[in-house]
Amino acid sequence: MLLYSIDTPQTANIYELTCILLFKIACNCQGSIYEDSHFTIRTAFGMNQELAEKTVAQLKNASIDFVTYLPETRLSRILPILEKDDFFTLVPVASEAEAVTIASGAALVGKRPACYMEATGLFVSAYNLLLVSMRLGIPLLLLISHVGNCADQKNSFRFAPTGVRTEEQLKALHIEYQVMANASDLNTGIADAVRMMHALKQPFALLFTGDFTV
């Protein structure tokens, strides 16, 4: 038996909800469309709750306290967790370009910032990374959903053409990075990256794929 749970906020558009429900029935999937914050989780895939909680805990342990973001699918479960914790300043943006500039400004007054984005956002924000973060030498953690990568469990023709170029783009920008493909990478990966970004005084990227895209 399939279960369709729709926790409907007052502001939800009934037409939109109906469309989503029909879509979910068509896809033979189940789950809750709305979760207990204003963030909407409409997909049945992406990192699981345990990994999301562990990711946020590791960010906090590494003193990351300011997160700019443009939501995407694979890692989006971290957002409600970040939102609930007053330790973090969570900043929604309209473009990854300003995710980078806003986070860079915050770094210059003592915040420890991260930018959470889909890999396609790396291409959008290349100008701002080069002309602000890198040219001024600003430590910045890039939390990148490595969509379109070979290990992306939900890879498709929508993502692969950019995904295969993401690491080359980082190399071209001279941004150091690590690929996070296994859940166990969380044990030290974020702490290592944050230590490195402060040592370099430059952006450092973590590319999440594999276990984080199941």
Partner: protein, 198 residues
């Protein structure tokens, strides 16, 4: 109205604020002000975003952004984000000469046609966005914007001038400017900014 005259009027109002300028404003402002809290970015499309980050990161400190029409148009997505975040300590001054005069051939920007930056700002949730067209009105709006709490956004319609084309350029590069700015913030806020000791 002349941008230099506007910036000269702004100068005595800058005490301990943090000031961010995009590429066009920084030449004149850099000549007028040697304030340690100046962050002169040397690029277009970045000052408003960086200013938002400063304001959100240090909410008790006033932050001033000196922008231009071309720079705002390059990162127009900043306006809805600014209207959403609405930092009360941020004061934005956009000097709109309706041209890309840094190009040396002075091609018109979209504001020379029908685009109204203050109107876009208001419709993005920046309720107090205004346009001023003469120095008297600029002085009045600038003064109240700096003195009164709340997000401020003043678009100053200025004539195109060419002094920046011959202005002597500073030999303080962006990295040196950043460190001077960061040390000023550290000293005045009493906290370290960068981690990673030698």
């Amino acid at each position: 109205m002349n941008r230099r005259a506007c910036l000269e009027a702004l100068l005595p109002f800058v005490k301990d604020q943090l000031v961010v300028a995009s590429v066009s404003g920084q030449w004149v402002w850099g000549q007028l002000s040697k304030h340690e809290g100046n962050l002169l970015l040397g690029s277009m499309g970045n000052a408003l975003g960086v200013g938002m980050g400063l304001a959100l990161g240090l909410p008790h400190r006033q932050v001033i952004v000196i922008e231009s029409d071309g720079s705002v148009l390059l990162s127009l997505f900043n306006l809805p984000t600014l209207g959403t975040l609405h930092p009360d300590n941020l004061k934005v001054f956009v000097f709109d000469n309706e041209a890309y005069s840094g190009s040396r051939i002075s091609r018109p920007s979209a504001t020379a046609a029908k685009t109204d930056i203050a109107a876009i700002a208001r419709d993005s949730g920046i309720e107090r966005a205004v346009t001023v067209r003469d120095l008297g009105n600029f002085n009045r709006e600038m003064s109240s914007t700096i003195k009164e709490p709340g997000l401020g956004f003043v678009v100053a319609k200025v004539e195109e001038t060419f002094e920046h084309r011959n202005a002597e350029r500073s030999d303080v590069d962006l990295m040196e400017n950043k460190y001077r700015f960061v040390r000023y913030v550290e000293r005045t806020e009493g906290k370290p900014i960068f981690l990673g000791r030698g």
